[in-house]
Structures are given as C-alpha cells and as structure tokens.
C-alpha cells in the first residue's frame, strides 16, 4: 500500500513539475490604445451608441494583409483596448454616421498609446427641446449638415427611450422608440427648412418614472448609421 501511494505521489510530482515548463513563446499582449472621437462641428464628443462607431485596427507590422480587429466605442465617445500586441497598426474609425475616413492613421502602438480622431458628422442635431404634457413627451429638434454635397439620403428619425443612461440603438424600449419612428426618405437637397425641424411624440409614458431620452436621424450610408443627440433625462410625474 505504501508503495502504491509513493508511486502515485511520484507520478503527481512528475506531472506537477513538468506543468511548470514554459512553452509560450509570445508575451501576453500588454500594449494599449485609447482615445476620443471628436465631433469637428461642435468640438465636443462624437455621439455614439451600441453597434455604432468602431475603431478598426490592422496590425501591419504582423502581416501585409492582416485580419482586422475592432474596438467598439463607448457611449461617451471614447474607446480603449488595453490588451493589444505591440506593433505598427493601420487605424480607421468606421461604422458611424460621419464622413468616411479615407486616410487611415498609421502608428506604433505600445503601452499607453493614444490618439484622438476628428470626425465630421453627416448631420448635427441641434436645439433638442422636450415638452411633457401629462404622460406625453414631445421632442423637437433641428438637423444641420456640416457638409452638404454628397450626403447620403436621410431615411428616418426616431426617439430612443430607456430607463438607464445607456440609451441608443439596441438599448431602448421598443414601444417608446422603434414604433415612434418617423419616415423621411429624402435627399438633403430636397428637404425644405420645415423638413429640417423634426417633431417626435411619445405618448403614454409610465408615470412616476425617470427616462433617459435621445433622438437619432438615420442615413442610407454603408452602415445605415444614425447621428444621435445628447442624452436628456425626463421625469414623468
């Protein structure tokens, strides 16, 4: 019996000691990359949402034809990835409602790298006002276009309503958001001044609750992306 136990222990000992052998020839990714997305028309943060702006990274020091990886942006218009391999990258912001960036940034990424991107939005949402009558919320705003020539067709406008500050496409209450969409389907040149003032109504909000609300205007670009307003809080008495 003792023999058996000592043999088992010997076996365990061998396994345990061999398990310590280093076999990974790569260091863990320790480079990081972060920054802000800046709306050049306002100088503030570019308004994003779930599934909106991403930062596309291509590690050109690894291969001439690298498979792209993406960093999704946060709702406040910043992004961060702290688990990247050190190297030279080609970096392009994609996916949101801004004029495409045709000249990607090429830079070396090591620990603590950062870069801010200046983006020109297709549309800027201005003068968002809220009027609450009973439980019915009326939102009114104007849209402006920093660059008019070649603007993709404007598809529709809709409110996004949620009970948390995380509000936007894919993070909203359907009955207060999707179903309150207003179709526009016009090119910018065909829109009158009146068309550019948009009113959205959300009736029957639950009383006694706080909602976080923003509006978005969607364009027919490659991503069918939306320009978003800032988030406002609405307290329904």
């Amino acid at each position: 019996m003792k023999k058996l136990i000592s043999r088992i222990l010997l076996g365990v000992g061998i396994l345990a000691s061999s398990a310590c052998t280093k076999i990974d020839n790569f260091k863990a990714p320790d480079a990081s990359f972060e920054g802000r997305l800046i709306d050049v028309s306002t100088g503030g943060s570019f308004q994003t949402s779930t599934g909106s702006v991403r930062i596309k990274l291509e590690q050109i020091s690894w291969s001439e034809t690298p498979s792209p990886q993406e960093i999704p942006s946060k709702m406040d218009g910043t992004y961060k990835d702290s688990k990247l391999f050190k190297g030279k990258y080609r970096i392009t912001p994609i996916g949101g409602a801004f004029w495409p960036v045709y000249e990607p940034v090429e830079m070396d990424i090591s620990s603590g790298s950062n870069h801010d991107f200046e983006l020109t939005p297709y549309l800027v949402i201005k003068n968002l006002t809220q009027v609450l009558t009973g439980t019915s919320l009326k939102l009114k705003f104007n849209i402006e276009s920093p660059v008019e020539a070649g603007l993709p067709k404007i598809l529709d406008a809709q409110p996004y309503v949620n009970t948390t500050r995380l509000v936007g496409a894919g993070a909203s209450i359907r009955e207060y958001s999707e179903t309150k969409k207003v179709d526009i389907n016009k090119n910018w040149a065909d829109m009158t001044a009146a068309d550019k003032t948009i009113e959205l109504t959300i009736p029957d909000l639950l009383p006694g609750r706080s909602f976080f609300v923003r509006v978005g205007v969607r364009l027919d670009d490659s991503y069918k992306s939306s320009n978003f307003s800032e988030i406002i809080e609405v307290k329904v008495p």
Binding site: T65, S67, S222, K224
Partner: protein, 611 residues
C-alpha cells in the same frame, strides 16, 4: 505424436511463406483508380461524374444556408430542413434568431472545379474508346457543372479567381498557385461562355438528374438575370471599398442591358421543349402535384433521392405538425406577409370589425388555388386530418380588429394556452395544430408549408430520412419568370405579359393586363411562384432591396380565434408569436471571402467591403 504433427504444420507454413515471398510484388495497385480505368468506359466516367453531381450547388431540401460543420450543401444526415433561407427573409419565420445567414458558410468548391477541369482536359485523350459524340456530351456536362459551381461562387462573393486549367502541386510553385481575384463582370461573362459551350455540346435529352443542353440554357437565363440586376441595382445601392474600386464586386451599370438580353435569349431556347404542369383540371391539386409528379414536363433538372441509397430527406416530417406525421417536428412557418402577396384576405368587414366565420375552412373559397397549394391554411386538411389551428378563445368580442390588436396583451380578454389540455367552458382553447403560447414546434403564424408536401404519403411513412420527393432545381416556371423580369428591364413588356399570364393561368389567378407588367409586378409574381424554393434570399440580394425589406422587420401571422358567446370564428392579423426582428446589413450583399483562404492566398485581398 501431437508434437510431431505441430512441427510438421509449423515447418510447412514456414516453407510456404518463404517460397511465396520470393515473388516480386510488382503489380499495379488494385485499389487506385487510374485515368485508364475511369475515362475509358462510360461507367467509369459516370461514377466520376456522379460524385460531382452529388456535390453540385443545388439549394435543395437539405441545404443549410449558414452551414453546419463548415458545409452547407449535401450535409451528411441533415434532417433539420427548417434552417432555411426563407426563414430569415420573411417568407417564413423559423428557428433563426435574426440575420444568421448573412456571412454564409465559407463556400469554396475549388476542389470540385479541379475535378471538372481535369475531366475537360483528359476526355479528349479517350475519344477513340468513347466515340466523339459521347466525349462531346460529357465535355458539355463538365462545362455546365463548372458554370454551376462558379455561379454559386459569383452570387456569394462577386469576383473570385477564374481557374480553368488543372493546377498541380508541387510541379507549380506556391506563387503560381496563389491566383488573383477576377472582376465580377468577367466572372459572370465566363459563366455565360461556359454555358454556351455546354449548350452546343450536349444533346437535347438526358436521364433524370443529369444535364442536357436546355439545363445549361436554364442556368444561363438565371445567371444572366442575376448579373443584369447586380449591374443595374448594385451600382445604386452599394458599399464602398477597395474590392469595389478594383471591380471585384460590382458591375458597371451600362453592362446591365447586355446581360438582360442574354437572359431573354437563353430562356427562349427552352420554348417548345418544356411546358408548365397542367395535368389536372383542379388547379389547386394540379399545383401541388407539379412538385410531386416525376413525369412533369416542367422539370428541367431534378435531384432524386432514395432510401436504399441513404439520400432520402425529411421534408414531410419537418414541415407538417407532429400529429400529421410519423416523427420529427416542424419549426418554420409561412408568414401572413407572404400570403398577402397573393391577395389581402377577406377577414375584416367594411366597418373594421372582424368577419365572423362558422368554420375555419369558410375562409378558403375564392383564394388563389396556387396559394392554397403553397401553404396550408387553418381549415385545410392533410391525410384526412384538419388543420384546426386556433390561437385562443374570446368569451365575447366587441369592436374593431385594429383596436383589439393594438391593445396590450394584458388588456385583451382572450384565453390562450400552452397545451391542448387547457379548456374554456369545456372547449379546447387552442387547436391540436397550434397556436401555442410557447415553443415553436407548432405554427407561430397560423400557416404550415404545403409546397413539396407529399399529401398521398401515409402518415407512418412521414418520418425522418424517408422522403424521396425529387428536388426541382430548374423548372420551366422559373425560366419564364427569368425571361419576364429581363424583358421588363429591357422595356419589352409584350413578351413579359405572355410569360406571366402562362404562369398566372396555371396558378388559377386572373390574367395580367399590360398595366400590371411592372418591375414590382414581376417581382411579386416571382416571390409567389418560387416561394420556399430558396430563391427569395438571392432575389432580395440581387435587387439590392434586402436592407429595405429587412430593416428591423417583424412579420405577421393569421391568428384564428373562437368567439365563444357567438359560436363563430374570427381571424386577426397579428405579429407572429415570437415577435422577432430581422435586419440586413448592407455588407451582406456580398459574403466575406473565407478567412482560411485569405490566410493561404494573400492575392485574394482586398476582401469584400466592410469585412
């Protein structure tokens, strides 16, 4: 004594082994088939071809659009036919949670294309043994098959490398084998040229399951129509990127009419050789039989299945509810949106209140026979059993249908149930065939698929891997629709009207007038005629309308209810019971080049836009 015997035996065995071992083992390996064995006899070639036909990209019963184990075609032992492209496009709703098929499954059949190229290269060496006519026929089949594989690639990826000779490794270097992408336009033209060759080389007839010259013409009409619409609509609605600037995806708009003309010309070649199935005066039964009758003059190319060959499929077991089959289960159901393409159903009175019916089946008279033969309505029967589909019971019903549907579920007075044992005043709340509050093995929309359902097959034979109904890959109705659509794009509406009215007459639908012959008119006719045949997905893509049709789309069902105090039935048009959203990202107009291939061959870059 025994010992001596053993010794003798051992010695003789040893002697025998050592004597025979002196023979030189220099015979041709008997388990390797050489070119001579395969290409010098018809049976040898037939077995070589059979393998290619078996793998041909037919999106048949077993086709799985998002793939399974890296494959989408001819998956071994696939029975779950409800994973179907119709179930993300709104023809049906099914198990897909949304746009689960946009990225494809990495289809890359260059191994089959190599087999075909090898055959094209080798056959001429055997002309003396096979006769010239035979070599021509087989070469024609090879060109058809090559075009078929390239067609399946072109509609997924746009331009891919055109490889028309056999590549050899290690005789050729890796650099030589890393071929470049070709332009999308060149690929479609190449497909057209291969099909012209195939048409000129093949005879007029063939055995079931094999190509003849008209099969090549049918594929050409389909392929050229695809290319024409991609040129026309893809130059308006597109995703920008390097692959587009280089011409790997997208065709210049001015090339559209050339392709449309080729589509019409190819379709006209079949005229007089095939006709629509019209054997039965009962239009509904006739349309159902058109998909079941082996001898249909409409069938251009079919794929056959057999139980003994272990190729049988499970369509009958997975598209009808379990009480009407032997085993299996269903999970994909036609939508009211598809049904309303035929006509709006007379379920609402002029004042907006739901029409009252004595029986569910009272809705059916007056509906288009083709519609009734395409989907099973509540009130229809199959194998002697009624579709008693009923979503619930209203103790009483007041007001309009629209007002009722707009209410929150909690405000509605209906009784729903999760199973057939739930009763209201002694009556079953839901039907045996649905609609349940949970689960999806009974209908979510009120309808079941009827197309290709073998209604004469006994219930106990409707089990998994037991259906042998052939799949019709090319049928004359599609060729007529290809022709009509290309005609309309070319402003040749008289010819289109003739084609469409042939189809509508067989369908039992009123004839079209000249004003009905529009792009939308022909597209709608195509959606109805070819429903559930895996066309709609590709049609939405080549029309570049998928991102509009599938824009956060939710689809509807037809919900039958029993109104208890009136002893009547009503039908309400409501969202299907799962309330799923379907979206299409514009980048899905092309699938991404498979990552594994990109890794092996950097010349396949740039990848398609936005991947």
């Amino acid at each position: 004594m025994k010992k001596i015997n053993k010794l003798i035996i051992a010695l003789s065995i040893g002697l025998g082994v050592s004597i025979s071992s002196c023979q030189k083992l220099d015979i041709a390996p008997v388990n390797v088939l050489t070119d001579d064995i395969i290409f010098s006899s018809e049976s040898g070639i037939n077995s070589y071809l059979a393998d290619i036909y078996r793998q041909a990209p037919m999106e048949d019963f077993t086709y799985r659009p998002e793939g399974r184990d890296g494959k989408g075609f001819n998956i071994h032992h696939e029975w779950e036919h409800f994973w179907r492209s119709g179930a993300v496009t709104g023809e049906m709703v099914g198990p897909y949670g949304g746009m689960d098929i946009g990225g494809g499954f990495g289809y890359w059949p260059y191994d089959k294309i190599r087999s075909i190229n090898y055959m094209i290269q080798t056959l001429p060496l055997y002309t003396s043994k096979l006769t010239e006519a035979k070599v021509n026929q087989l070469t024609g089949e090879a060109y058809f098959l090559r075009a078929f594989f390239y067609f399946a690639l072109a509609k997924r990826y746009g331009g891919v490398p055109i490889v028309k000779t056999v590549q050899n490794y290690p005789e050729q270097t890796i650099e030589e084998l890393q071929v470049h992408r070709d332009k999308e336009e060149d690929l479609w033209n190449f497909i057209g040229e291969d099909l012209d060759l195939a048409y000129s080389l093949m005879p007029e007839t063939s055995v079931s399951g094999k190509a003849n010259k008209y099969v090549a013409a049918a594929l050409k009409s389909r392929a050229m129509l695809y290319a024409g619409t991609i040129a026309k609509y893809g130059s308006v609605n597109f995703v920008d990127g390097d692959a587009r600037s280089a011409g790997y995806v997208g065709i210049p708009a001015d090339k559209a009419n050339g392709f449309f003309t080729k589509a019409v010309d190819a379709a006209k070649l079949l005229e007089g050789h095939y006709s629509l199935y019209n054997k039965n005066a009962n239009k509904e039964l006739n349309y159902a039989d058109a998909f079941l009758d082996n001898s249909s003059p409409e069938n251009i190319l079919v794929r056959d299945y057999s139980i003994s060959g272990r190729t049988a499929h499970s369509w009958d077991a997975v598209y009808s509810p379990r009480p009407m089959t032997g085993d299996g289960l269903s999970r994909a159901y036609p939508t009211l949106d598809l049904v309303e393409r035929f006509s709006m159903l007379p379920i609402t009175n002029a004042d907006g209140t739901p029409r009252r019916f004595n029986n569910l089946s009272d809705l059916l008279p007056g509906l288009e026979p083709r519609l009734l033969a395409t989907v099973y309505f509540p009130g229809a029967t199959l194998r002697g059993l009624p579709f008693d589909t009923q979503r619930g019971i209203y103790p009483s019903f007041n007001g309009t249908a629209a007002a009722e549907v707009a209410k929150l579920p909690t405000e509605r007075s209906y009784r729903l149930a999760g199973g057939t044992d739930a009763l209201y005043e002694g009556k079953r709340i839901i039907g045996i065939t649905g609609i349940r509050t949970a689960g999806d093995d009974y209908t979510r929309t009120g309808f079941y698929v009827r197309k290709y359902i073998d209604y004469k097959r006994p219930q106990n034979e409707c089990i998994l891997f037991n259906s042998t109904t052939h799949w019709i890959e090319f049928r004359y109705a599609e060729v007529l629709l290809n022709r009509a659509e290309a005609d309309i794009e070319l402003n040749n509406s008289a010819d289109a009207l003739t084609c469409l009215n042939l189809i509508r007459s067989r369908a039992g639908a009123p004839a079209f007038n000249a004003v009905d012959v529009t792009v939308n008119g022909v597209r709608n006719e195509r959606c109805k005629e070819l429903a559930f045949e895996n066309h709609y997905w590709w049609d939405l893509r080549r029309w570049r309308t998928a991102d509009v049709v599938l824009d956060n789309a939710r689809f509807k069902g037809l919900m039958p209810y029993y109104v208890s105090n009136e002893n009547k039935f009503i039908f309400l048009s409501e969202p299907e019971t799962f309330g799923r959203n379907y979206n299409f990202d514009k980048k899905y107009y092309y699938e991404p080049i498979p990552g594994g291939e990109l890794g092996k061959n950097p010349n396949l870059y740039p990848n398609n836009p936005n991947y």
